[in-house]
């Protein structure tokens, strides 16, 4: 069986850094958006979809933070379910990019 990137239990790794820090505001908002989408009355996302999309990051999984994996998965789920299109998401991201430039 091929071991995928998220399946890391038992692998060698460095020292655990017990330090912690407060999440950035956008990371908390990402958690909140996911929680709202998962609420039964919306039912627009499920935890297993989030995990699948996270795991499908493959090599990029280790390059980005847990919070960014949540953002990535949320966008993917919405696209896969046809709630957002790639085009409108790309367009909105460009607008935000220009607004902050």
């Amino acid at each position: 069986m091929i071991r995928r990137v998220h399946d890391m239990g038992g692998l060698p790794a460095g020292r655990v850094q017990p330090a912690d820090h407060e999440l950035e505001p956008y990371a908390k908002r990402a958690q909140a958006v996911m929680a709202l989408l998962r609420e039964a009355r919306r039912n627009m996302a499920r935890l297993d979809e989030m995990r699948r999309n996270t795991e499908d990051l493959e090599d990029r999984y280790l390059d980005i933070s847990y919070d960014d994996r949540v953002v990535h998965s949320t966008a993917q789920i919405l696209i896969q379910r046809g709630i957002l299109s790639i085009e409108e998401l790309g367009q909105k991201m460009s607008e935000l990019s220009e607004a902050s430039a």
């Binding site: 239990g9 820090h21 990371a27 958006v33 949320t74």
Partner: protein
């Protein structure tokens, strides 16, 4: 897959900015589409911020003073938490009890499942590759990195969580807390005690 965003090839220093922008864009588009309102998101952020490990500490303190409650907690974690008005949601909660001979630690090797309803958001290290990889193989060494050294004759049991099965550690009541109130007992129960990387101490 053709439904994937082309998010590869971003310069490294720009990655965080890229995902921040993606988060804003997703939120704004969902508000425009009427999926939820800005206020819904603000309120949910506030709820997330309000949930922290003190909920778990209250459960532990009750179990320390009430043997019948402790038995119910070990038998059905969710029902026992709900007795205290703490909503666990549609998942199994298994409470694992530390004793003189067994110490318990929790992890989620595959993602970062965590008893959020009782502990709030997981700390950075709980989500790290280092913790997820190593605590199942060399827990004693990892605990030492947290400053927790256990006697060699204490067995360490590591519990790997999943999306629908969460664990909570019930630590041993520390010596020197005889006669303490439940409120005072709850104060010695830190987040790390509930994960199993620390032991409560009577301050």
């Amino acid at each position: 897959m053709n439904d994937r965003l082309n998010d590869g090839g971003q310069p490294e220093e720009d990655t965080r900015g890229y995902y921040k922008r993606m988060q804003s864009a997703v939120e704004e588009l969902l508000i425009l589409k009427g999926v939820f309102t800005r206020e819904d998101v603000d309120r949910t952020v506030a709820e997330i911020e309000a949930r922290d490990y003190r909920r778990g500490a209250v459960v532990v303190a009750r179990a320390w003073v009430d043997a019948a409650y402790r038995a119910r907690l070990l038998q059905n974690g969710r029902a026992a938490c709900e007795e205290l008005g703490l909503k666990v949601g549609p998942l199994h909660l298994i409470v694992v009890e530390n004793t003189d001979s067994v110490h318990n630690v929790i992890v989620c090797t595959l993602c970062s499942c965590y008893p959020r309803m009782l502990l709030g958001l997981p700390p950075e290290w709980y989500k790290s590759g280092e913790y997820r990889s190593r605590v199942v193989r060399e827990p004693r060494k990892v605990l030492e990195e947290f400053g927790t050294t256990l006697p060699v004759d204490v067995r360490i049991r590591v519990h790997d969580s999943s999306a629908d099965m969460r664990y909570l550690v019930l630590p041993m009541r520390p010596a020197g807390t005889e006669g303490w109130s439940e409120e005072r007992l709850a104060e010695v129960v830190t987040r790390d005690c509930l994960v199993g990387t620390a032991l409560p101490k009577a301050a």
